[in-house]
């Protein structure tokens, strides 16, 4: 009940607690900033509704940044529902920036096959992708025809909730084809990605809802990430209090015995 109140009250009465920008998030932002106009960013929405709360705000913030920079977006998904969720954000934001489908952005939908598919995709997109998510032949769309292999991609931005996901993009698109990889992952997965960042295999990372909130702050767009941060902070304080209280009670009981 206390946790529920700690979530609901800050939503009704926002505290606007400050959000610090961490280096992994700044790296994603700087990477996108460094791309020249017209560069192609492959956005892969590798999650399902179970992780929507954490990854959808990050998806919106990154797409917004890409369109603001006039980058072209090539969207796909390694999870079936991911490409549908990504498409909601993509079409909505594309409309607000007057972007044209097929020219400035494209969605080729869900691509099954995991790592085997990624291996073939990097070599030749045509082997794997013949139509977009609506069944339109890929070569009839200018952006679809422009992407032949991994060499045509300037950055892969994956929104990943598990397997297949960020690890496979790192292994098959970075290690094999040298494409820079940035990612947004669920908070549970985030600690596992830090070794890849320190080795340079991963350029930047948005970890969970906090990562999304930081990115929203960077692109100056108040979305679900920033709105949820007050609740997140208050619940964390509450849980720290519970842990401290539990330990005090334990120490007291041990002394009593």
């Amino acid at each position: 009940m206390l946790v529920a109140l700690a979530v609901i009250i800050p939503m009704l009465v926002p505290l606007n607690l400050p959000v610090d920008i961490t280096n992994p998030v700044k790296n994603v932002y700087n990477k996108i900033e460094s791309l020249s106009e017209g560069s192609i960013v492959l956005v892969s929405t590798d999650y399902d509704p179970g992780s929507e709360a954490e990854l959808y705000p990050a998806t919106e913030a990154v797409i917004e940044h890409c369109f603001r920079k006039n980058l072209r977006i090539y969207m796909m998904g390694l999870w079936p529902a991911g490409s549908e969720l990504g498409n909601i954000a993509l079409t909505r934001i594309a409309q607000s920036y007057n972007k044209r489908y097929g020219v400035d952005y494209i969605n080729v939908g869900y691509r099954p096959g995991g790592q085997v598919m990624l291996l073939c995709l990097g070599r030749n997109f045509g082997d794997v992708i013949r139509v977009d998510y609506q069944g339109t032949p890929i070569d009839s769309l200018p952006l679809g025809a422009a992407v032949k292999s991994a060499k045509d991609i300037s950055l892969v931005m994956t929104f990943s909730a598990g397997d297949p996901g960020i690890l496979h993009w790192i292994i098959y698109f970075h290690a094999r084809y040298g494409v820079p990889i940035c990612g947004a992952t669920t908070a549970i997965m985030a600690p596992q990605q830090y070794p890849y960042m320190s080795s340079g295999q991963l350029t930047g990372l948005l970890g969970g809802l906090k990562g999304a909130a930081e990115y929203e702050a960077l692109v100056n767009k108040k979305g679900r990430g920033l709105r949820g941060m007050d609740s997140q902070s208050i619940v964390h304080l509450l849980l720290i209090g519970f842990i401290a209280l539990g330990n005090v009670i334990l120490i007291y009981q041990r002394k009593k015995e």
Binding site: V7, E52, E54, P80, H168, I171, Q201
Partner: protein, 205 residues
């Protein structure tokens, strides 16, 4: 109109699932069964439209790729144990699967983990800031002591025992970080649902 109905269904099902926090009840059971049924139906459609049709039936019947029949045959051999006389034939698809998996995982581990991660531990200790030197020393010691913990060919006593204990500390800190992130993830999911109920459904924020 359709959107409003969808929001109401999602809101009612969300509340039905959370009602389990009080106790197991019929509303929770209904929501749980709907979830199982919808998931099964959804995956059946995905498997047909995204796997079977574009990779097998469409090339086989409409593009004349008759040789697609071979993987179908190999796949069907998975059911060979149902007929005792030909049960040995399951070895064919299993061998094929094992071969492919081994090739993929060896590449994945060597190319993605072992070499790049090993390379990442060769860090400079000079000509960098004091903080970077400290971080680099910490990474190098963390790798060495954790590896010592996983060295099982000698009993963990003496210097080896001390190294293994320090390795445990490094791992405990890592587990703590993972646990913290796990809590954050669970809270984020709850925030997502509460936001949906208050914003999309009730419209109070």
């Amino acid at each position: 109109m359709i959107n409003t109905i969808g929001i109401w269904i999602a809101a009612v099902l969300t509340l039905a699932i959370y009602s389990f926090l009080y106790k197991d009840n019929p509303f929770y059971k209904i929501a749980e069964n709907i979830f199982v049924g919808v998931s099964a139906g959804y995956w059946a459609v995905v498997l047909w439209y995204d796997f079977a049709w574009p990779n097998l039936f469409e090339p086989l019947f409409y593009r004349g790729q008759w040789y697609n029949i071979f993987p179908v045959f190999i796949g069907l051999l998975m059911f060979a144990p149902l007929i005792p006389k030909i049960s040995w034939m399951i070895r064919i698809p299993l061998t094929f699967t094992m071969g492919i998996s081994m090739a993929l995982f060896i590449t994945q581990i060597v190319q993605g983990d072992i070499f790049p991660q090993l390379q990442a531990t060769f860090l400079p200790l000079k000509s960098v800031s004091v903080f970077t030197t400290f971080s680099n020393v910490l990474i190098i010691l963390g790798v060495i002591f954790t590896l010592i913990y996983f060295y099982f060919s000698k009993e963990h006593i003496g210097p080896l025992g001390i190294g293994a204990k320090i390795g445990i500390w490094f791992m405990m800190i890592s587990f703590g970080a993972s646990f913290g992130y796990t809590i954050m993830a669970r809270v984020s999911l709850f925030i997502g649902r509460v936001y949906f109920l208050m914003h999309n459904w009730l419209g109070v924020i």
